[in-house]
Structure formats: C-alpha cells, structure tokens
C-alpha cells in the first residue's frame, strides 16, 4: 500500500472516530428508547387485534399486507429490469455450444460446489417459506437461491445448467408463472368482495393447524420463485462467451 493511501485512510478514520465520539459524549444526542405511535400500532397489531396480519414477523406483515401495494410495484420494477436486460441482449437464435479445451477447476472446487448448492437451496427455501415467522421473505430467499446457478456457472459452465434443461427460456417461463400467480393472489380478494391485496378474512390464517398468516406465505413463495428465476435468466445471458455473442448479433468483427 502506498504512503499516500495510509495517510488518507488514517485521516478519514480519525475523522469518523472524532465525529462519533463527539456526538456521543459532547453533543448528547438523546437515545430514544420508546417506539413511535405508528410503530407501536404495527407491533401491537401484527399478530393480535382486529387489524392483525396474524404474523409474528412485523416486517413481512408490513411488506405484503399493510403496505402491500408498495411491494407489488417493487416487484414490477424488478420485472421491468429483467425485461430490459433481455431486450439488451436480444437473442432469438439458438446459440451453438463452444467446446473449449481446458482442465477446468480441480475436483475440490467442483465437489464443494455440488455439496454447497444443495445446502443453499435448502437455506433459501427456509428463508422464503418461513418469511411470515422469522426474518426473511420472498426477495431475500430468491436472491439467495440465485447464487446456486451462479456457482454452477462459475465452477462448471453454463452448459452444465442448459444440458439439464435450465435454459434462459425455462427460467423466463418459471418467472412468469411466479409473477402471474402474484397477480392472481392480488385479485382474489376483489372477487371475494374485499379490497385489492386484502389479507385476512379472505385467506385462512391457519392451514392444517399450521400458521400461514393468510396470504403472506403464498406471496413469499411466488416472489421466491420469480426472483430466483429472474436472476438465473440474467446470469445465463451474461455468461454467453463474447465470441459467440458477436456471432449471434452479427455486428462488429473481430
């Protein structure tokens, strides 16, 4: 590391320490220990009460019930981002497989990825499906799931995924199924005489004696599928080798 870097870092760290110590001991910022009225309402009513989402996880009940439309449009933004990525790559023809000679990674990396990917799928499913009970939810679980195809693309190749049927088109179909199911879930309460994205009286709070918090578990499940498949499609597109990509697009010459 150069000398200038050390000086700059030292100055910045000293500044941060001085400011934080100054705020704590001299400025006497009041430490708030009580919850604001709106927060108190959410805390009291997320499980008990007349307006409850029947979920002990306050964040998820805010995300998919109280402020549900926000999350719905957030999902819409993510949908548009993936669509624009697909439009940028504009690949319609089927690409040919390039066989490059090489050893690849050692068996240590490959076997580790084989074991770890199963673990990550299990953990991400737990994050998403327990989203109404513990911290986590559909988006968190889905983005954890998207790490699996990424690891496989890096350790093996993208053809290892496509040979097993997980092509860009399959990922897009799975993602569309997830998104359409979310839209249907949004519209179900309207058909039952309620409001858009209404949760509890329409959906049952317990299914087979298990707490499912109405529609929260379904929203989390379909968001999990949609986010995981959406990221997978983008990774499959990005991992196309540059040579093949130029051949398909037919643009600039090497």
């Amino acid at each position: 590391m150069k000398r200038g870097h050390i000086i700059a870092l030292g100055v910045f760290i000293a500044l941060i320490l001085l400011v934080s110590l100054g705020i704590t001991f001299v400025g006497k910022v009041p430490m708030t220990t009580d919850v604001r009225p709106l927060g108190l309402f959410y805390l009291k009513n997320s499980y008990f009460g007349n307006y409850a989402a029947r979920s002990p996880e306050v964040v998820t009940s805010i995300l998919w019930d109280y402020r549900g439309l926000d999350t719905l449009f957030e999902t819409g933004v993510f949908f548009l981002a993936i669509i624009s990525a697909l439009a940028l790559f504009r690949i319609e023809k089927k690409e040919e497989k390039v066989k490059e000679k090489g050893e690849g990674f050692t068996f240590i990396v490959k076997d580790t990825v084989r074991i770890i990917s199963v673990l990550i799928v299990a953990v991400s499913a737990a994050i998403a499906l327990h989203g109404h009970l513990t911290p986590g939810g559909g988006f968190q679980g889905g983005s954890a799931l998207a790490v699996v195809p990424l690891l496989i693309i890096v350790a093996f190749s993208k053809y290892a995924l496509e040979g097993r049927g997980l092509t860009k088109d399959t990922a897009m179909i799975v993602r569309s199924i997830g998104l359409i199911s979310i839209i249907i879930l949004v519209l179900i309460p309207l058909a039952a005489g309620g409001y858009l994205m209404q949760n509890l009286p329409v959906f049952p709070s317990h299914i087979l004696g298990q707490l499912t918090s109405g529609s929260l578990v379904f929203y989390n499940l379909f968001e999990y599928i949609a986010v995981g498949a959406g990221f997978t499609a983008v990774f499959l597109l990005l991992s196309i080798p540059e040579k093949v990509f130029h051949k398909i697009i037919g643009g600039e010459k090497e």
């Binding site: 910045f12 320490l17 911290p135 986590g136 998207a146 790490v147």
Partner: protein, 84 residues
C-alpha cells in the same frame, strides 16, 4: 453489553470504510471488486448489530454474491486494468 455491540459496530464500519477506499483507489478492477465484496461483509455485520435481519438477508446475497458476480462478468467483457 450494548458497549460491546457498539465497539463491534464501530470496527466493522471502519473496516468497511477502508475496503471501500481501497476499492475506489485500486486500478486492477478485479481486485477492486473483491475489496467491494469485503466492504459488503463488513456492512452486513453492521446490519446485524443494528438489528435489521431482513435487510441483512437480502444484502448478504446481493452484495457479496450477485453484485460481485455481475461485475466480474462485466469485467470479463472489457479490460481488466482501469485506464485513466
């Protein structure tokens, strides 16, 4: 007890700051991405101490896994060294 938490918070934020400084100043872009991932690790510790596990779960997958990998893909399509 809260004092230990605050100390861990301060250390992780300072280390995160060091990592982000290194990521900006590094000319080898691949190394800069790795520094950026280190900053993500430090910030995720900070999120855990600030009692935001929902943010943490999304951040740890995106900042360390997906974001890093996206940038590595992008660097593989351009040049590795930053040219000023």
């Amino acid at each position: 007890m809260i004092f230990i938490h605050l100390v861990i918070l301060a250390i992780s934020m300072i280390l995160g700051f060091v990592f982000s400084y290194l990521a900006i100043m590094e000319e080898d872009l691949l190394k800069a991405v790795i520094y950026s991932a280190g900053q993500g690790v430090m910030f995720s510790i900070a999120f855990y101490i600030l009692m935001a596990p929902d943010v943490l779960l999304a951040y740890i997958a995106i900042a360390i896994g997906i974001y890093t990998a996206l940038l590595v893909f992008v660097i593989s399509k351009t040049e590795r060294k930053e040219v000023v």
